[in-house]
Amino acid sequence: MPELLTKSRARNVFYGGSIFFVVVFVALTAQSHRHIVNNATAGMPLTEAVILGKHVWERHSCINCHTLHGEGAYFAPEVGNVMTRWGVMDDAEGAYEILDSWMQAQPSGIEGRRQMPHFEITEEEMRGLAEFLRWADQTDTQNWPPNDAG
């Protein structure tokens, strides 16, 4: 064993093998990038409104309470499929209205109930946020989540 696995051999295996796996990973990542752009997220155009909505989502750090496609904090419901859950996935106007009325009603102030903060969001931004959530919902996520509950 000692003559078979010397320190320098172990070192060469580490560096050589790591470079091999990095190359494979980079190649697969490039292919995944193309797949995402051309297939998985191609169901709806990436419009100005969607991009604005993503910035609104980020500026208010919604991810630190909610999950989006299962990633984020586990304090508030999944929103990657919220438009499907609300039944407004194919209805841009309905999506805006239901989102706007929900967010205007926050925080609920109900004792013992988790509180969503009140956010100062203009109408244009709210429409963007609704479009962003619809856009996220159309992503081909390999049928995740298992049901509408999120």
Partner: protein
């Protein structure tokens, strides 16, 4: 302490411990909000508290790593740090950046890429600090003796700093955003940080056990090879449900199964070295933390990671309290406990006195480790119920959460133990000036 410039590490460790205090306090508050949701909801919403909890964790762990590098590279290279001034400048930038980030979070300025919420100027500050660090530590390394420990440590630190570049890349396409976000998040904690961890653990074993350097270094290379071979393609377990191709379900499942190997190897390595070593090092607390770290890392990162990493399981458990359980124990075992092991080892040298107040330090180990273990169990139970009710039965999120109150109360209780342990640790490191426990009466033989 052989080299004067190692003293820099002291400042890093002190700042790291201060942030550690902030981190656990934030965690405790967040845990309380799960129990009493209306707490501070108007002034300090949950998302801000959680941001402070996670960001403080990342920054203090990095400060600990930087400090550890400044401590051990001079000793391994057998020369002084290239520039002590640069090292302090780097620390000053990081402190200003951290305070700036916390201040901006409190007034509502933050980003929305989880863990990378820092304002842009703070991100640039971190980049500048990272460059200063790499220059400083690499020039020290290049001028001196090169060992496997410093090779691996430097490889890990270089790669983790390079990956920081992805913190600046934020595609408009959400799925691409997620794809590249994992280049920082996963490739830090499940690849490059593991190199840093293995190097520091190797250094501690070298010092604490007296085992031959050749033996330690050979096994270090084997361990870090298994870490990168499994960890790089193991990134695939984050690509299951974000819009990436379906083949990641197989690649991710297979390679993340192997991610258990480096953690098992590190645990075995630590125990075998202690067993083989004949040195009776006086710093028993550092030994306890080292062995504890590798053991809890194996359970938290290895076992609890494997628990929900196969794609057929993850389809149901993804984004539930199971993930929270795994995240807490993995971070605690692999990186928190390892940093505390390094602080425990280095502090007596940095303060120029013998290992002391071991008992308080070891009590803090058991308080924190016990607390984290209990927290992991309660969150695992909560996550199992959540997975069933929400993902199988199809009940809505908040209805399910309302059923989990008992678990969140128990989790808060374990959080108290962790915070008490953290306070005790910091107290035993910084405040106590002499051995607290008085020696018992000497046994008189032959009577």
């Amino acid at each position: 302490m052989k080299y004067q410039s190692q003293k820099v590490a002291y400042a890093y460790f002190v700042v790291a411990m201060a942030l550690f205090g902030v981190q656990v306090a934030g965690g405790l508050l967040a845990g309380w909000i799960y129990v009493a949701p209306n707490t501070l909801s108007e002034i300090l919403p949950f998302n801000i508290i959680r941001m402070i909890h996670t960001n403080a964790l990342i920054v203090w762990l990095l400060l600990g790593f930087f400090g550890a590098a400044y401590y051990l590279v001079p000793e391994e290279s057998e020369r002084e740090i290239f520039s002590v001034k640069l090292a302090y400048l780097q620390l000053a930038i990081l402190v200003v950046g951290t305070l700036g980030a916390v201040g901006s979070y409190l007034v509502g300025i933050h980003g929305g890429r989880e863990f990378l919420e820092q304002p842009l100027w703070v991100k640039f500050g971190i980049l500048v600090a990272a460059v200063i660090f790499l220059v400083n530590i690499s020039l020290t390394f290049l001028a001196g003796r090169k060992t496997a420990i410093t090779n691996i440590l430097l490889t890990g630190l270089w790669l983790l700093c390079l990956l920081w570049v992805f913190a600046f890349i934020n595609p408009n396409n959400l799925s691409l955003d997620k794809l590249y976000w994992w280049m920082v998040i996963h490739l830090w904690v499940e690849a490059t940080w593991e190199l840093v961890m293995a190097a520091i653990l190797g250094f501690l074993m070298l010092k604490l056990t007296g085992v031959d350097r050749e033996v330690i270094e050979k096994w270090l290379y084997v361990i870090v090879a298994t870490a990168l071979f499994s960890g790089i393609l193991g990134t695939g377990h984050h690509f299951y449900w974000i819009g990436a191709p379906g083949y990641w379900q197989w690649i991710g499942s297979i390679f993340s199964t192997f991610e258990v190997v480096p953690f098992f190897a590190m645990m075995s390595f630590a125990f075998v070295m202690v067993w083989k070593g004949r040195k009776n090092h006086p710093n028993k607390a550092a030994l306890l933390w080292s062995l504890g770290s590798s053991t809890v890392a194996f359970f938290g990162a290895g076992v609890w990671g494997f628990l929900h990493t196969l794609h057929g399981v993850n389809f149901y458990t993804h984004g539930t309290q199971i993930t929270a359980a795994h995240g807490h124990l993995a971070f605690y075992g692999a990186y928190v406990a390892l940093n505390l092991a390094m602080f425990t080892y280095a502090m007596p040298h940095l303060r120029g006195r013998d290992p002391y107040n071991q008992v308080l330090n070891m009590v803090s180990f058991w308080l924190m480790t016990g607390g984290m273990a209990f927290m992991t169990f309660t969150l695992t139970f909560a996550g199992t119920i959540q997975t069933h009710m929400q993902r199988i039965v199809g009940d809505y999120y908040m209805e399910v959460q309302d059923q989990l109150g008992l678990f969140y109360m128990m989790r808060f209780g374990s959080g108290i133990a962790v915070v008490l342990g953290a306070i005790l640790f910091i107290y035993s490191m910084l405040v106590v000036r002499r051995e607290i426990v008085k020696p018992g009466p000497l046994a008189v033989p032959g009577e």
